[in-house]
Amino acid sequence: MTDRTMLKERFVKWVLITFALSSLLFLFLIFVFILAEGLPLFLKVGLKKIIFGFKWAPTKGYFGIFPMIVSSFLVTFGALVIGAPLGLSCAIYLSEYSGKKTKMFLKPALELLAGIPSVVYGFLGVIYIVPLVRNYLGGSGFSLISTSLILGVMILPTIISISFDAITTVPKTYREASAAMGATKWQTIYKVILPSAKSGILASFILGMGRAIGETMAVIMIAGNALKIPTSILDPLRTLTGNIALELAYATGDHRLGLFSTGIVLMVIIMALNYLANFGIKRKPAK
Protein backbone atom coordinates (compact mmCIF):
# COMPACT_ATOMS: atom_id res chain seq x y z
CA MET A 1 0.00 0.00 0.00
CA THR A 2 1.16 3.48 -0.78
CA ASP A 3 1.49 6.08 1.94
CA ARG A 4 -1.50 7.88 0.54
CA THR A 5 -3.84 4.93 0.84
CA MET A 6 -2.48 4.24 4.33
CA LEU A 7 -3.29 7.79 5.30
CA LYS A 8 -6.72 7.57 3.78
CA GLU A 9 -7.42 4.30 5.57
CA ARG A 10 -6.47 5.81 8.88
CA PHE A 11 -8.57 8.91 8.20
CA VAL A 12 -11.62 6.77 7.35
CA LYS A 13 -11.20 4.75 10.51
CA TRP A 14 -11.19 7.85 12.69
CA VAL A 15 -14.20 9.30 10.92
CA LEU A 16 -16.10 6.04 11.52
CA ILE A 17 -15.11 5.95 15.19
CA THR A 18 -16.42 9.50 15.54
CA PHE A 19 -19.70 8.50 13.91
CA ALA A 20 -20.00 5.49 16.19
CA LEU A 21 -19.40 7.68 19.22
CA SER A 22 -22.15 10.07 18.13
CA SER A 23 -24.87 7.72 19.42
CA LEU A 24 -23.28 7.78 22.85
CA LEU A 25 -22.94 11.54 22.68
CA PHE A 26 -26.62 11.94 21.80
CA LEU A 27 -27.68 9.64 24.62
CA PHE A 28 -25.49 11.61 26.99
CA LEU A 29 -26.96 14.93 25.84
CA ILE A 30 -30.52 13.66 26.24
CA PHE A 31 -29.80 12.47 29.78
CA VAL A 32 -27.93 15.56 30.82
CA PHE A 33 -30.41 18.07 29.49
CA ILE A 34 -33.52 16.34 30.78
CA LEU A 35 -31.85 15.75 34.18
CA ALA A 36 -30.49 19.29 34.37
CA GLU A 37 -33.98 20.72 33.89
CA GLY A 38 -35.88 18.24 36.01
CA LEU A 39 -33.58 17.45 38.96
CA PRO A 40 -33.46 20.89 40.61
CA LEU A 41 -37.19 20.69 41.23
CA PHE A 42 -36.78 17.33 42.96
CA LEU A 43 -34.31 19.03 45.28
CA LYS A 44 -36.46 22.10 45.80
CA VAL A 45 -39.85 20.47 46.29
CA GLY A 46 -38.69 17.09 47.50
CA LEU A 47 -38.72 13.69 45.89
CA LYS A 48 -41.53 12.46 48.07
CA LYS A 49 -43.84 15.37 47.33
CA ILE A 50 -43.39 14.86 43.60
CA ILE A 51 -43.51 11.08 43.29
CA PHE A 52 -46.06 10.47 46.03
CA GLY A 53 -47.86 13.79 45.82
CA PHE A 54 -51.50 13.67 44.76
CA LYS A 55 -51.96 17.25 43.67
CA TRP A 56 -50.69 18.63 40.37
CA ALA A 57 -51.12 22.40 40.32
CA PRO A 58 -47.71 23.53 39.08
CA THR A 59 -48.53 27.24 39.06
CA LYS A 60 -49.41 27.02 42.76
CA GLY A 61 -46.39 24.96 43.75
CA TYR A 62 -47.92 21.49 43.76
CA PHE A 63 -46.04 18.98 41.62
CA GLY A 64 -47.52 15.65 42.69
CA ILE A 65 -47.49 13.11 39.87
CA PHE A 66 -48.48 10.00 41.79
CA PRO A 67 -51.88 9.71 40.03
CA MET A 68 -50.13 9.89 36.66
CA ILE A 69 -47.62 7.21 37.60
CA VAL A 70 -50.47 4.94 38.69
CA SER A 71 -52.46 5.80 35.55
CA SER A 72 -49.51 5.09 33.28
CA PHE A 73 -49.14 1.65 34.83
CA LEU A 74 -52.88 1.00 34.68
CA VAL A 75 -53.18 1.69 30.94
CA THR A 76 -50.02 -0.28 30.32
CA PHE A 77 -51.38 -3.22 32.25
CA GLY A 78 -54.69 -2.90 30.41
CA ALA A 79 -52.87 -2.82 27.08
CA LEU A 80 -51.00 -5.97 28.06
CA VAL A 81 -54.20 -7.80 29.03
CA ILE A 82 -55.46 -7.19 25.50
CA GLY A 83 -52.24 -7.24 23.51
CA ALA A 84 -50.29 -10.07 25.11
CA PRO A 85 -52.63 -13.06 24.48
CA LEU A 86 -53.58 -11.83 21.02
CA GLY A 87 -50.00 -11.04 20.06
CA LEU A 88 -48.66 -14.36 21.33
CA SER A 89 -51.41 -16.27 19.48
CA CYS A 90 -50.49 -14.47 16.27
CA ALA A 91 -46.82 -15.25 16.80
CA ILE A 92 -47.56 -18.97 17.39
CA TYR A 93 -49.85 -19.09 14.37
CA LEU A 94 -47.25 -17.42 12.17
CA SER A 95 -44.37 -19.62 13.19
CA GLU A 96 -46.07 -22.99 13.66
CA TYR A 97 -49.28 -23.13 11.64
CA SER A 98 -49.30 -20.75 8.70
CA GLY A 99 -48.13 -21.94 5.31
CA LYS A 100 -45.27 -20.22 3.57
CA LYS A 101 -47.51 -18.12 1.34
CA THR A 102 -49.79 -17.02 4.18
CA LYS A 103 -46.74 -16.04 6.20
CA MET A 104 -45.31 -14.02 3.32
CA PHE A 105 -48.47 -11.92 3.35
CA LEU A 106 -49.38 -12.02 7.04
CA LYS A 107 -46.09 -11.03 8.63
CA PRO A 108 -45.60 -7.75 6.76
CA ALA A 109 -49.31 -6.97 7.16
CA LEU A 110 -49.02 -7.32 10.93
CA GLU A 111 -45.88 -5.19 10.96
CA LEU A 112 -47.70 -2.50 9.00
CA LEU A 113 -49.81 -1.96 12.12
CA ALA A 114 -46.68 -0.45 13.63
CA GLY A 115 -46.48 2.03 10.76
CA ILE A 116 -49.91 3.56 11.37
CA PRO A 117 -49.14 6.85 13.14
CA SER A 118 -50.25 7.11 16.75
CA VAL A 119 -52.35 10.20 15.97
CA VAL A 120 -54.41 8.07 13.59
CA TYR A 121 -54.98 5.46 16.31
CA GLY A 122 -56.02 8.25 18.65
CA PHE A 123 -58.38 9.78 16.11
CA LEU A 124 -60.09 6.48 15.30
CA GLY A 125 -60.29 5.78 19.01
CA VAL A 126 -62.12 9.06 19.58
CA ILE A 127 -64.49 8.49 16.64
CA TYR A 128 -65.29 4.80 17.17
CA ILE A 129 -64.14 3.40 20.52
CA VAL A 130 -65.04 6.32 22.81
CA PRO A 131 -68.73 6.50 21.71
CA LEU A 132 -68.96 2.71 21.87
CA VAL A 133 -67.79 2.70 25.49
CA ARG A 134 -70.01 5.69 26.34
CA ASN A 135 -73.14 4.09 24.89
CA TYR A 136 -72.69 0.52 26.09
CA LEU A 137 -70.71 0.82 29.33
CA GLY A 138 -71.36 4.36 30.48
CA GLY A 139 -69.24 7.31 31.55
CA SER A 140 -67.85 9.85 29.11
CA GLY A 141 -66.11 7.18 27.04
CA PHE A 142 -62.73 8.90 27.52
CA SER A 143 -61.53 6.22 29.85
CA LEU A 144 -59.06 3.67 31.08
CA ILE A 145 -60.71 0.94 29.05
CA SER A 146 -60.78 2.88 25.76
CA THR A 147 -57.12 3.82 26.16
CA SER A 148 -56.15 0.25 27.04
CA LEU A 149 -57.97 -1.09 23.98
CA ILE A 150 -56.17 1.24 21.60
CA LEU A 151 -52.79 0.73 23.28
CA GLY A 152 -53.40 -3.04 23.22
CA VAL A 153 -53.61 -2.90 19.45
CA MET A 154 -50.65 -0.53 19.18
CA ILE A 155 -48.30 -2.88 21.04
CA LEU A 156 -49.28 -5.93 18.95
CA PRO A 157 -46.50 -5.54 16.34
CA THR A 158 -43.84 -5.39 19.07
CA ILE A 159 -45.17 -8.46 20.86
CA ILE A 160 -45.72 -10.43 17.66
CA SER A 161 -42.34 -9.83 16.09
CA ILE A 162 -40.28 -10.45 19.22
CA SER A 163 -42.18 -13.55 20.38
CA PHE A 164 -42.09 -14.82 16.79
CA ASP A 165 -38.29 -14.53 16.85
CA ALA A 166 -38.16 -16.29 20.23
CA ILE A 167 -40.38 -19.16 19.02
CA THR A 168 -38.55 -19.66 15.73
CA THR A 169 -35.17 -19.92 17.48
CA VAL A 170 -36.32 -23.02 19.40
CA PRO A 171 -34.23 -25.79 17.80
CA LYS A 172 -35.97 -28.03 15.28
CA THR A 173 -34.74 -31.12 17.13
CA TYR A 174 -37.04 -30.25 20.05
CA ARG A 175 -40.06 -30.37 17.76
CA GLU A 176 -38.90 -33.59 16.15
CA ALA A 177 -38.25 -35.30 19.49
CA SER A 178 -41.68 -34.29 20.74
CA ALA A 179 -43.41 -35.44 17.55
CA ALA A 180 -41.52 -38.74 17.74
CA MET A 181 -43.05 -39.35 21.16
CA GLY A 182 -46.48 -39.11 19.55
CA ALA A 183 -47.34 -35.63 20.76
CA THR A 184 -49.78 -33.60 18.69
CA LYS A 185 -48.70 -30.26 17.34
CA TRP A 186 -50.43 -28.33 20.12
CA GLN A 187 -48.96 -30.58 22.81
CA THR A 188 -45.53 -29.90 21.32
CA ILE A 189 -46.15 -26.15 21.31
CA TYR A 190 -47.64 -26.07 24.78
CA LYS A 191 -45.23 -28.40 26.54
CA VAL A 192 -42.00 -27.95 24.60
CA ILE A 193 -41.80 -24.83 22.44
CA LEU A 194 -43.44 -22.24 24.68
CA PRO A 195 -41.43 -23.22 27.78
CA SER A 196 -38.15 -22.99 25.88
CA ALA A 197 -39.11 -19.67 24.28
CA LYS A 198 -40.35 -18.34 27.63
CA SER A 199 -37.73 -15.68 28.26
CA GLY A 200 -38.02 -14.22 24.76
CA ILE A 201 -41.81 -14.13 25.02
CA LEU A 202 -41.61 -12.39 28.38
CA ALA A 203 -39.19 -9.90 26.86
CA SER A 204 -41.72 -9.18 24.11
CA PHE A 205 -44.36 -8.42 26.74
CA ILE A 206 -42.01 -6.12 28.61
CA LEU A 207 -41.02 -4.25 25.44
CA GLY A 208 -44.72 -3.98 24.63
CA MET A 209 -45.18 -2.42 28.06
CA GLY A 210 -42.37 0.01 27.30
CA ARG A 211 -44.10 0.98 24.07
CA ALA A 212 -47.45 1.45 25.84
CA ILE A 213 -46.08 3.50 28.72
CA GLY A 214 -44.17 5.77 26.31
CA GLU A 215 -47.08 6.27 23.93
CA THR A 216 -48.31 9.84 23.89
CA MET A 217 -50.46 11.22 21.10
CA ALA A 218 -53.05 8.44 20.98
CA VAL A 219 -53.29 8.53 24.77
CA ILE A 220 -53.94 12.25 25.15
CA MET A 221 -56.71 12.01 22.58
CA ILE A 222 -58.57 9.15 24.28
CA ALA A 223 -57.68 9.14 27.98
CA GLY A 224 -59.64 12.22 29.04
CA ASN A 225 -56.59 13.52 30.92
CA ALA A 226 -58.27 13.99 34.31
CA LEU A 227 -55.94 14.55 37.26
CA LYS A 228 -57.22 11.73 39.46
CA ILE A 229 -56.42 8.11 40.05
CA PRO A 230 -59.16 6.26 38.15
CA THR A 231 -61.36 4.16 40.41
CA SER A 232 -63.12 2.30 37.62
CA ILE A 233 -62.28 1.26 34.09
CA LEU A 234 -64.70 3.93 32.85
CA ASP A 235 -62.86 6.80 34.55
CA PRO A 236 -60.67 9.23 32.60
CA LEU A 237 -57.01 9.46 33.50
CA ARG A 238 -53.80 11.30 32.68
CA THR A 239 -50.52 9.50 32.01
CA LEU A 240 -46.96 10.76 32.51
CA THR A 241 -46.51 11.19 28.77
CA GLY A 242 -49.86 12.96 28.49
CA ASN A 243 -48.88 15.40 31.23
CA ILE A 244 -45.76 16.43 29.30
CA ALA A 245 -47.46 16.70 25.92
CA LEU A 246 -50.49 18.62 27.17
CA GLU A 247 -48.60 21.35 28.97
CA LEU A 248 -45.14 21.68 27.43
CA ALA A 249 -46.18 24.15 24.74
CA TYR A 250 -47.20 26.88 27.19
CA ALA A 251 -45.47 26.02 30.48
CA THR A 252 -42.89 28.43 31.90
CA GLY A 253 -40.71 28.62 34.99
CA ASP A 254 -41.21 25.97 37.65
CA HIS A 255 -44.18 24.61 35.73
CA ARG A 256 -41.90 23.70 32.85
CA LEU A 257 -39.35 22.19 35.24
CA GLY A 258 -42.16 20.05 36.63
CA LEU A 259 -42.71 18.60 33.17
CA PHE A 260 -39.06 17.68 32.98
CA SER A 261 -39.36 16.01 36.40
CA THR A 262 -42.24 14.03 34.91
CA GLY A 263 -39.90 13.17 32.03
CA ILE A 264 -37.24 11.90 34.45
CA VAL A 265 -39.72 9.56 36.14
CA LEU A 266 -40.83 8.29 32.72
CA MET A 267 -37.22 7.80 31.67
CA VAL A 268 -36.41 5.79 34.80
CA ILE A 269 -39.43 3.51 34.26
CA ILE A 270 -38.56 2.94 30.58
CA MET A 271 -34.93 2.21 31.43
CA ALA A 272 -35.98 -0.32 34.05
CA LEU A 273 -38.30 -2.04 31.56
CA ASN A 274 -35.64 -2.14 28.84
CA TYR A 275 -33.15 -3.57 31.29
CA LEU A 276 -35.59 -6.32 32.24
CA ALA A 277 -36.34 -7.07 28.58
CA ASN A 278 -32.67 -7.31 27.64
CA PHE A 279 -32.20 -9.75 30.46
CA GLY A 280 -34.90 -11.92 28.87
CA ILE A 281 -33.60 -11.65 25.32
CA LYS A 282 -29.95 -12.27 26.09
CA ARG A 283 -30.49 -15.53 27.92
CA LYS A 284 -30.12 -17.94 25.04
CA PRO A 285 -32.43 -20.96 24.93
CA ALA A 286 -30.90 -24.07 26.49
CA LYS A 287 -28.85 -26.11 24.06
Binding site: V12, L16, S22, F26, I30, I34, A109, A245
Partner: protein, 278 residues
Amino acid sequence: MRVNPRIINQAVRVGLSAQALFTVSILVVIVAIICVKGFPYIDFAFIFSFPEDMGRHGGIFPSIVGTIQLALLSILLATPLGVGTAIFLTEYTRESAFTKLIRFGVESLAGIPSILYGLFGFIFFVIKLKMGWSLLAGVLTLTIMILPTIIRTSEEAIRAVPRQLRIVSYSLSASKWETIKKVVLPAAMPGILTGIMLSIGRAVGETAAVIFTMGSSLRLPLSLMDSGRTMAVHFYILAREGISMEKAYGTALVLVLSILLINVVAYYLMNKAIARYS
Protein backbone atom coordinates in the same frame (compact mmCIF):
# COMPACT_ATOMS: atom_id res chain seq x y z
CA MET B 1 -63.44 -36.69 31.03
CA ARG B 2 -60.38 -36.78 28.85
CA VAL B 3 -60.76 -35.03 25.52
CA ASN B 4 -58.94 -36.54 22.60
CA PRO B 5 -55.72 -34.52 22.07
CA ARG B 6 -56.40 -34.49 18.32
CA ILE B 7 -59.65 -32.66 18.89
CA ILE B 8 -57.92 -30.12 21.12
CA ASN B 9 -55.25 -29.77 18.45
CA GLN B 10 -57.85 -28.95 15.82
CA ALA B 11 -59.65 -26.54 18.13
CA VAL B 12 -56.41 -24.70 18.86
CA ARG B 13 -55.61 -24.47 15.16
CA VAL B 14 -58.98 -22.88 14.49
CA GLY B 15 -58.66 -20.57 17.50
CA LEU B 16 -55.20 -19.35 16.55
CA SER B 17 -56.06 -18.75 12.90
CA ALA B 18 -59.15 -16.83 13.98
CA GLN B 19 -57.01 -14.57 16.16
CA ALA B 20 -54.45 -13.98 13.41
CA LEU B 21 -57.27 -13.18 11.02
CA PHE B 22 -58.80 -10.82 13.56
CA THR B 23 -55.51 -8.98 14.01
CA VAL B 24 -54.99 -8.52 10.27
CA SER B 25 -58.57 -7.36 9.96
CA ILE B 26 -57.77 -4.53 12.42
CA LEU B 27 -55.27 -3.22 9.90
CA VAL B 28 -57.69 -3.70 7.04
CA VAL B 29 -60.49 -1.94 8.91
CA ILE B 30 -58.26 1.01 9.87
CA VAL B 31 -57.07 1.49 6.31
CA ALA B 32 -60.57 0.97 4.91
CA ILE B 33 -62.14 3.55 7.24
CA ILE B 34 -59.49 6.13 6.41
CA CYS B 35 -59.82 5.46 2.67
CA VAL B 36 -63.62 5.50 2.56
CA LYS B 37 -64.00 8.55 4.79
CA GLY B 38 -61.08 10.48 3.36
CA PHE B 39 -61.44 9.77 -0.33
CA PRO B 40 -64.33 12.20 -1.02
CA TYR B 41 -62.28 15.08 0.33
CA ILE B 42 -59.07 14.73 -1.59
CA ASP B 43 -58.48 16.06 -5.05
CA PHE B 44 -55.78 17.92 -6.91
CA ALA B 45 -56.61 21.18 -5.15
CA PHE B 46 -56.48 19.59 -1.69
CA ILE B 47 -52.93 18.41 -2.30
CA PHE B 48 -51.62 21.50 -4.04
CA SER B 49 -53.35 24.43 -2.39
CA PHE B 50 -52.69 26.32 0.81
CA PRO B 51 -54.91 25.96 3.87
CA GLU B 52 -57.24 28.82 4.72
CA ASP B 53 -58.83 29.75 8.04
CA MET B 54 -56.61 27.46 10.23
CA GLY B 55 -57.18 24.55 7.85
CA ARG B 56 -60.96 24.74 7.81
CA HIS B 57 -60.82 25.28 4.07
CA GLY B 58 -58.27 24.82 1.33
CA GLY B 59 -55.57 22.20 1.05
CA ILE B 60 -52.56 20.81 2.86
CA PHE B 61 -49.74 21.73 0.51
CA PRO B 62 -47.41 23.34 3.11
CA SER B 63 -47.74 20.36 5.43
CA ILE B 64 -46.86 17.95 2.61
CA VAL B 65 -43.79 20.02 1.81
CA GLY B 66 -42.93 20.29 5.51
CA THR B 67 -43.19 16.51 5.91
CA ILE B 68 -40.94 15.86 2.93
CA GLN B 69 -38.38 18.43 4.10
CA LEU B 70 -38.29 17.02 7.60
CA ALA B 71 -38.05 13.37 6.54
CA LEU B 72 -35.46 13.88 3.81
CA LEU B 73 -33.17 16.18 5.78
CA SER B 74 -33.23 13.85 8.82
CA ILE B 75 -32.41 10.90 6.59
CA LEU B 76 -29.63 12.87 4.95
CA LEU B 77 -28.00 13.40 8.35
CA ALA B 78 -28.82 10.05 9.94
CA THR B 79 -27.74 7.84 7.04
CA PRO B 80 -24.01 8.64 7.01
CA LEU B 81 -23.91 8.59 10.82
CA GLY B 82 -25.86 5.34 11.05
CA VAL B 83 -24.22 3.45 8.20
CA GLY B 84 -20.82 4.70 9.39
CA THR B 85 -21.51 3.37 12.88
CA ALA B 86 -22.64 0.05 11.41
CA ILE B 87 -19.48 -0.21 9.29
CA PHE B 88 -17.34 0.54 12.30
CA LEU B 89 -19.12 -2.07 14.43
CA THR B 90 -18.92 -4.79 11.80
CA GLU B 91 -15.69 -4.19 9.91
CA TYR B 92 -13.29 -2.31 12.15
CA THR B 93 -13.48 -3.91 15.56
CA ARG B 94 -13.93 -7.16 17.37
CA GLU B 95 -16.54 -7.37 20.11
CA SER B 96 -15.04 -5.52 23.05
CA ALA B 97 -16.01 -3.31 25.95
CA PHE B 98 -15.96 -0.39 23.52
CA THR B 99 -18.42 -1.93 21.03
CA LYS B 100 -20.60 -3.02 23.95
CA LEU B 101 -20.71 0.57 25.12
CA ILE B 102 -21.70 1.82 21.67
CA ARG B 103 -24.33 -0.90 21.36
CA PHE B 104 -25.67 0.10 24.76
CA GLY B 105 -25.97 3.66 23.48
CA VAL B 106 -27.80 2.57 20.34
CA GLU B 107 -30.18 0.25 22.23
CA SER B 108 -30.94 2.95 24.77
CA LEU B 109 -31.70 5.50 22.06
CA ALA B 110 -34.02 2.98 20.42
CA GLY B 111 -35.94 2.53 23.67
CA ILE B 112 -36.55 6.21 24.39
CA PRO B 113 -40.18 7.15 23.63
CA SER B 114 -40.80 9.95 21.18
CA ILE B 115 -42.20 12.36 23.78
CA LEU B 116 -38.81 12.34 25.54
CA TYR B 117 -37.16 13.17 22.21
CA GLY B 118 -39.63 16.03 21.99
CA LEU B 119 -38.75 17.15 25.52
CA PHE B 120 -35.03 16.98 24.76
CA GLY B 121 -35.29 18.66 21.36
CA PHE B 122 -37.38 21.40 22.90
CA ILE B 123 -34.98 22.24 25.72
CA PHE B 124 -31.73 21.65 23.80
CA PHE B 125 -32.29 22.79 20.23
CA VAL B 126 -35.26 25.14 20.60
CA ILE B 127 -34.36 26.85 23.90
CA LYS B 128 -30.66 26.39 24.73
CA LEU B 129 -29.30 26.60 21.20
CA LYS B 130 -31.87 29.32 20.45
CA MET B 131 -33.11 27.75 17.23
CA GLY B 132 -36.71 28.43 18.17
CA TRP B 133 -39.45 26.28 16.72
CA SER B 134 -37.82 25.52 13.42
CA LEU B 135 -37.33 22.98 10.69
CA LEU B 136 -33.71 22.69 11.84
CA ALA B 137 -34.66 21.79 15.43
CA GLY B 138 -37.13 19.20 14.11
CA VAL B 139 -34.59 17.71 11.73
CA LEU B 140 -31.88 17.40 14.37
CA THR B 141 -34.27 15.82 16.88
CA LEU B 142 -35.59 13.30 14.36
CA THR B 143 -32.07 12.50 13.17
CA ILE B 144 -31.24 11.25 16.66
CA MET B 145 -34.56 9.42 16.90
CA ILE B 146 -34.20 7.44 13.66
CA LEU B 147 -30.48 6.78 14.05
CA PRO B 148 -30.88 3.46 15.96
CA THR B 149 -33.11 1.98 13.23
CA ILE B 150 -30.58 2.82 10.55
CA ILE B 151 -27.68 1.45 12.60
CA ARG B 152 -29.42 -1.84 13.39
CA THR B 153 -30.68 -2.58 9.88
CA SER B 154 -27.38 -1.56 8.27
CA GLU B 155 -25.41 -3.68 10.70
CA GLU B 156 -27.54 -6.71 9.93
CA ALA B 157 -27.24 -6.10 6.20
CA ILE B 158 -23.46 -5.70 6.36
CA ARG B 159 -23.06 -8.80 8.50
CA ALA B 160 -25.03 -10.84 5.97
CA VAL B 161 -22.48 -10.10 3.21
CA PRO B 162 -20.46 -13.31 2.77
CA ARG B 163 -16.83 -13.26 3.89
CA GLN B 164 -15.66 -14.62 0.55
CA LEU B 165 -16.51 -11.36 -1.18
CA ARG B 166 -14.20 -9.47 1.13
CA ILE B 167 -11.43 -12.03 0.79
CA VAL B 168 -11.59 -11.86 -3.01
CA SER B 169 -11.43 -8.09 -2.86
CA TYR B 170 -8.39 -8.15 -0.56
CA SER B 171 -6.70 -10.68 -2.82
CA LEU B 172 -7.01 -8.16 -5.63
CA SER B 173 -4.97 -5.86 -3.36
CA ALA B 174 -7.87 -3.58 -2.54
CA SER B 175 -7.53 -1.73 0.74
CA LYS B 176 -10.03 -2.08 3.55
CA TRP B 177 -11.97 1.06 2.72
CA GLU B 178 -11.96 0.24 -1.01
CA THR B 179 -13.36 -3.17 -0.16
CA ILE B 180 -16.08 -1.66 1.98
CA LYS B 181 -16.96 1.03 -0.53
CA LYS B 182 -16.89 -1.07 -3.68
CA VAL B 183 -17.82 -4.54 -2.44
CA VAL B 184 -19.47 -4.65 0.97
CA LEU B 185 -21.74 -1.61 0.76
CA PRO B 186 -23.15 -2.37 -2.71
CA ALA B 187 -23.84 -5.93 -1.60
CA ALA B 188 -25.55 -4.73 1.58
CA MET B 189 -27.48 -1.97 -0.20
CA PRO B 190 -31.01 -3.48 -0.21
CA GLY B 191 -30.80 -4.08 3.53
CA ILE B 192 -29.49 -0.58 4.20
CA LEU B 193 -32.25 0.91 2.03
CA THR B 194 -34.82 -1.06 4.02
CA GLY B 195 -33.67 0.71 7.17
CA ILE B 196 -33.76 4.07 5.41
CA MET B 197 -37.32 3.52 4.16
CA LEU B 198 -38.53 2.37 7.59
CA SER B 199 -36.96 5.47 9.11
CA ILE B 200 -38.64 7.75 6.57
CA GLY B 201 -41.94 6.08 7.47
CA ARG B 202 -41.29 6.73 11.13
CA ALA B 203 -40.38 10.39 10.52
CA VAL B 204 -43.51 10.95 8.41
CA GLY B 205 -45.82 9.52 11.08
CA GLU B 206 -44.15 11.12 14.08
CA THR B 207 -46.00 13.79 16.03
CA ALA B 208 -44.88 14.11 19.65
CA ALA B 209 -41.22 14.74 18.83
CA VAL B 210 -42.04 17.08 15.96
CA ILE B 211 -44.69 19.34 17.42
CA PHE B 212 -42.37 20.61 20.21
CA THR B 213 -39.36 21.14 17.97
CA MET B 214 -40.57 22.13 14.52
CA GLY B 215 -43.68 23.77 15.90
CA SER B 216 -46.94 24.02 14.02
CA SER B 217 -46.81 27.10 11.82
CA LEU B 218 -49.11 26.78 8.84
CA ARG B 219 -46.76 28.63 6.54
CA LEU B 220 -44.49 26.96 4.05
CA PRO B 221 -41.04 26.60 5.65
CA LEU B 222 -38.66 28.39 3.30
CA SER B 223 -35.52 28.25 5.42
CA LEU B 224 -34.10 25.94 8.08
CA MET B 225 -35.02 28.48 10.73
CA ASP B 226 -38.70 28.61 9.77
CA SER B 227 -41.29 26.77 11.78
CA GLY B 228 -43.52 24.40 9.89
CA ARG B 229 -46.17 21.76 10.26
CA THR B 230 -45.98 18.18 9.10
CA MET B 231 -49.02 16.25 7.88
CA ALA B 232 -49.16 14.28 11.12
CA VAL B 233 -49.12 17.47 13.22
CA HIS B 234 -51.66 19.15 10.94
CA PHE B 235 -53.94 16.14 11.22
CA TYR B 236 -53.57 16.09 15.00
CA ILE B 237 -54.49 19.78 15.31
CA LEU B 238 -57.43 19.48 12.90
CA ALA B 239 -58.80 16.48 14.80
CA ARG B 240 -58.06 17.58 18.35
CA GLU B 241 -59.33 21.10 18.03
CA GLY B 242 -62.28 19.93 15.96
CA ILE B 243 -61.42 22.37 13.18
CA SER B 244 -62.69 20.25 10.32
CA MET B 245 -63.51 16.55 10.23
CA GLU B 246 -63.52 16.52 6.42
CA LYS B 247 -60.05 18.00 6.20
CA ALA B 248 -58.87 15.72 9.01
CA TYR B 249 -60.00 12.61 7.13
CA GLY B 250 -58.48 13.90 3.90
CA THR B 251 -55.15 14.58 5.61
CA ALA B 252 -55.26 11.19 7.34
CA LEU B 253 -55.74 9.49 3.98
CA VAL B 254 -52.72 11.18 2.40
CA LEU B 255 -50.69 10.49 5.55
CA VAL B 256 -51.62 6.82 5.92
CA LEU B 257 -51.28 6.03 2.21
CA SER B 258 -47.81 7.61 2.09
CA ILE B 259 -46.70 5.61 5.10
CA LEU B 260 -48.14 2.36 3.75
CA LEU B 261 -46.43 2.95 0.42
CA ILE B 262 -43.10 3.70 2.11
CA ASN B 263 -43.38 0.57 4.26
CA VAL B 264 -44.37 -1.65 1.34
CA VAL B 265 -41.25 -0.48 -0.52
CA ALA B 266 -39.25 -1.25 2.64
CA TYR B 267 -40.59 -4.83 2.79
CA TYR B 268 -39.95 -5.31 -0.91
CA LEU B 269 -36.33 -4.27 -0.37
CA MET B 270 -36.09 -6.48 2.71
CA ASN B 271 -37.22 -9.52 0.76
CA LYS B 272 -34.70 -8.67 -1.91
CA ALA B 273 -31.98 -8.40 0.74
CA ILE B 274 -32.95 -11.74 2.29
CA ALA B 275 -33.12 -13.45 -1.10
CA ARG B 276 -29.65 -12.23 -1.99
CA TYR B 277 -27.58 -14.31 0.42
CA SER B 278 -29.69 -17.25 1.45
